[in-house]
């Protein structure tokens, strides 16, 4: 990165009369007074006016200020930053599929519907669930959909119940989604191994509890080995088990949620199924359910009848639509390409190599960083800054120093049950060399923390901007550019 190049905002590059795109001439007779009966706007003050070379350089320069998976290891825990295969990008915009209008009659878009049906089937097989909806646009959207399904099923039985149980290690979207579904949240404390404590679960699991939301492996990267017993406790009292599938990358081809008592699951295609994160979306959060919950899935449901795909809207128990149209279609195409490329063995190799890579990192850093929970790790491991604290160094300093080594920091300060957390998920696509570079950098930083803590506290040193004042940003928010008067 060349530190000196600063890129202005487009509004500052702008000058009257410039444009980067010329439209075709209007080829119908122009009606000058069209829409004269409604308020029209004049030119938008401050709106950009730049040339095409300027647009190209602007965005190319901005792109160069981003770290990305295509450059190196991106070990964000619970984010599964794996490599995004390039052929999937290309095929996601394959014209005959990508040009389809979502309001087109179903008999003209059989290919699009086939893609959706194929992905539903593959996801059902991989997770051991019976039916899927691909409508949810992201993981949290899937959570909301899944919880609505559970609520509708309980209402069908006469009582939606009041509470949802969520472990204290869960991602923040879990309680938030349960809340937007009309439930109060009760937190379940983790035991000393970082797992759900079955005896506290038994105490909390009353007839007023609608569901347990569980992430497995949990956010510590630990498999809830009591999962079958946990599901039994919940089912005995008439509740449902919801699984947040964010960490499915640890399980593909090894164990299926549907075989361990899970009633509803959401997946993140942008994690386990390699679709790119795009700097924060678009994702896709399909929801899978067991047969007894299938009547509640959002409409429309795609059915196959005599070799044709048809959309079924006549589903009296459905929760309704959760999104317009059919979900994030081009993301779903990428996931299909991924599954078809890998095949059954390849899908299993995801979990095998993801877990191997995470354990390799854990093993190599165990002496250098504190590991609060020592239960065996799956696809990620969670260290803390406890050893470094005595030199006045925090997880933030460690994270920022990693940037100087040309790497992206791990997830920080999450899960909440590990103070000063550094949550590391390498994924299966990393090479031995990239893993060793990361391990080497972390070891070197541990040494620097002892010998020269200031170099950590002032990190990063090599970026376009250094530590940014987030407090000032929140105190007096500047959320848009404004023309200087």
């Amino acid at each position: 990165m060349i530190k000196e190049i600063r890129e202005p905002l487009v509004f500052e590059l702008s000058a009257p009369g410039k444009k980067a795109c010329l439209l075709a001439a209007l080829d119908v007779p122009e009606k000058r007074n069209l829409l004269s009966d409604v308020p029209l706007r004049g030119a938008i003050d401050g709106f950009p006016e730049v040339s095409e070379p300027e647009v190209t350089r602007h965005f190319t320069r901005l792109s160069q200020k981003n770290y990305c998976v295509d450059v190196g290891l991106y070990p964000l825990g619970s984010c599964t930053m794996k490599y995004n295969p390039k052929i999937n990008e290309k095929l996601s915009s394959h014209p005959p599929l990508a040009a389809s209008h979502p309001n087109a009659p179903e008999d003209l878009v059989q290919g699009n519907l086939e893609v959706l049906k194929l992905v539903e089937g593959c996801l059902a097989e991989i997770t051991g669930m019976d039916a899927f909806t691909l409508q949810p646009a992201a993981g949290a959207h899937g959570e909301l959909t899944g919880m609505m399904i559970i609520r509708a099923a309980l209402e069908g039985r006469g009582n939606p119940r009041k509470y949802v149980l969520i472990p204290d290690s869960a991602h923040g979207t879990n309680p938030s989604s349960a809340h937007i579904c009309g439930y109060s949240v009760k937190e379940i404390k983790s035991n000393e191994d970082g797992m759900i404590d079955v005896s506290s679960l038994e105490k909390e699991m009353t007839d007023e509890v609608a569901a347990l939301m569980v992430t497995n492996p949990n956010t510590l990267g630990v498999f809830e080995s009591d999962i079958c017993r946990i599901a039994e406790v919940v089912h005995t009292r008439g509740g449902f088990v919801y699984m947040d599938g964010a960490n499915m990358n640890a399980l593909t081809g090894i164990v299926r949620p549907g075989d361990m008592g899970i009633d509803v699951i959401h997946l993140n295609l942008h994690k386990t199924f390699s679709t790119p994160h795009g700097g924060g979306g678009p994702g896709s959060g399909p929801v899978g359910v067991k047969k007894n919950l299938a009547p509640y899935l959002p409409v429309p449901v795609i059915e196959e009848k005599g070799g044709r795909f048809v959309l079924d809207f006549d589903r009296p128990k459905t929760i309704g639509r959760v999104r317009s149209f059919y979900g994030n279609f081009s993301v779903i195409v990428r996931a299909l390409c991924y599954i078809l490329s890998l095949g059954p063995r390849g899908i299993r190799e995801i979990a095998e190599n993801a877990v191997l890579n995470a354990n390799y990192i854990r093993k190599n850093l165990e002496g250098d960083y504190h590991l609060k929970y020592t239960a065996s790790s799956m696809h990620e491991c969670v260290f803390s800054d406890k050893f470094q604290k005595e030199f006045g160094v925090t997880n933030l300093d460690i994270a920022k120093r990693l940037i100087d080594y040309g790497l992206h920091p791990p997830t920080m300060s999450f899960p909440l049950i590990v103070h000063g957390a550094l949550m590391i998920e390498p994924t299966e696509t990393e090479s031995r060399r990239d893993l060793d570079l990361f391990i080497g950098a972390m070891k070197s930083i541990a040494r620097e923390a002892r010998e020269n803590p200031d170099v950590l506290k002032s990190a990063p040193h090599v970026t376009y901007v250094r530590r940014l004042d987030e407090v000032a940003a929140a105190k007096t928010p500047v959320l848009k550019w404004e023309k200087k008067s």
């Binding site: 915009s93 009309g182 979990a351 065996s376």
Partner: protein, 448 residues
Amino acid sequence: MSYISLSGKDKKEMLAALGMSSTEELFRCIPQAVRLKRDLDLPAPLAELELIRRIEDIGRRNSYPRYLSFLGGGAYDHFIPTVVDYLSSRGEFVSPYTPYQPEVSQGTLQVIFEFQTLICQLTGLDIANASLYEGATGAAEAVLMAQRITGRSKVLVARTLHPQYREVIRTYIRNLGIEAVEIPYGKDGRLDPGALAGRMDDRVAGIIYQSPNFFGIVEDVKALSEVAHSRKAVSVAVVPEALSLGLLEAPGTLGADIVTGEGQSFGIPLSFGGPYLGFMACRKEYVRQLPGRLAGETTDVDGLRGYVLTLATREQHIRRERATSNICTNQALCALRATIFLESLGKDGLREMAWQNAQKAAYAMDVLTSASGVRRKFGGPSFNEFVLEFSRPWAEVDAALREKGILCGIGLEGAYGELRNCALVSVTELKRKDDIDRLGRALKEALS
């Protein structure tokens, strides 16, 4: 194909370092009873060339590309400058995560900051977020936001709001004790502000309406907002055809307090409905109630300007069940496409594109209504869509036109039982005069 980068030797050595001899041992923590003891029942792996052929085969099952299509209704076929695809497909934009580490994410953050500015300029409001999933969930989030702002739990929802958007609102509010009352449209296809005033009371949190509405007709945002404000309710304008913002007065300027909608028209391909681009803007006093991410300007330790995600205390990862919304992901890559699109078209280009849409739709309306047995259903002013009523059942008209390779529009009887024999026709700048004339001739033949 596999995307694993470890060699056999690597794996062996790494397992040995863990004191293991097989990968099987990595999974000892999973009870044997639940382990999958067979291979997954999935198709055999495909090489890249085989995969290309497989997807091409699936693509060939679509006959849609062979039709001349005038479909709209919440998704629009617009021109996309080449720079949009070229620049937005850079790995530096495609493959990073959410910009939680600002020092290595200034590219994404500055793009979001520019996007927020553009949305404020287009909507005429103070604050815009970094994007939402798409238009329908944006409308549902606006309903929840109106409830939070006012503490009231009833909303008036226009019948002219996109039917799918209304369905999503219904799904979202079902469990939250919010009541949605539908408000009818008048003879001209628009809401009647006078009649609306009669439905207002002090329990109403907000009025949710679409402009241009589902029939393509421009609503009187100013009058609707005045009705909302007369009872201290929130005026929410929903804009599924964002291109209209290039020509019509900004809803925020006319009194809307929240403007949300669908930005697909800004450089995002139809792609069978997604991913699209929800956007949302509001007055600055409501910023703490706004869902979704926000990028803000700040300075670094050396005093240099930079950008960060900010006001995160509204969000789920801090507030958990007390967050303003459960939203985590936004649609950053789609917002990037919209930003490149808008900056490429620029001040004049965006207005010109919107103007061409209105002109071509007006021309099409003249051509099509010159056929006998066709009339314009509503008299209100329209942007790039309009409703036609036919003398024969829509299914027959549609079938006859499809035989000629034309999709004239979306039949409305399913979503609006009262609109028998009616269809919604959309005309964008991509339709040439010849295309419109061809539709006109075909329609005349179909009805003769």
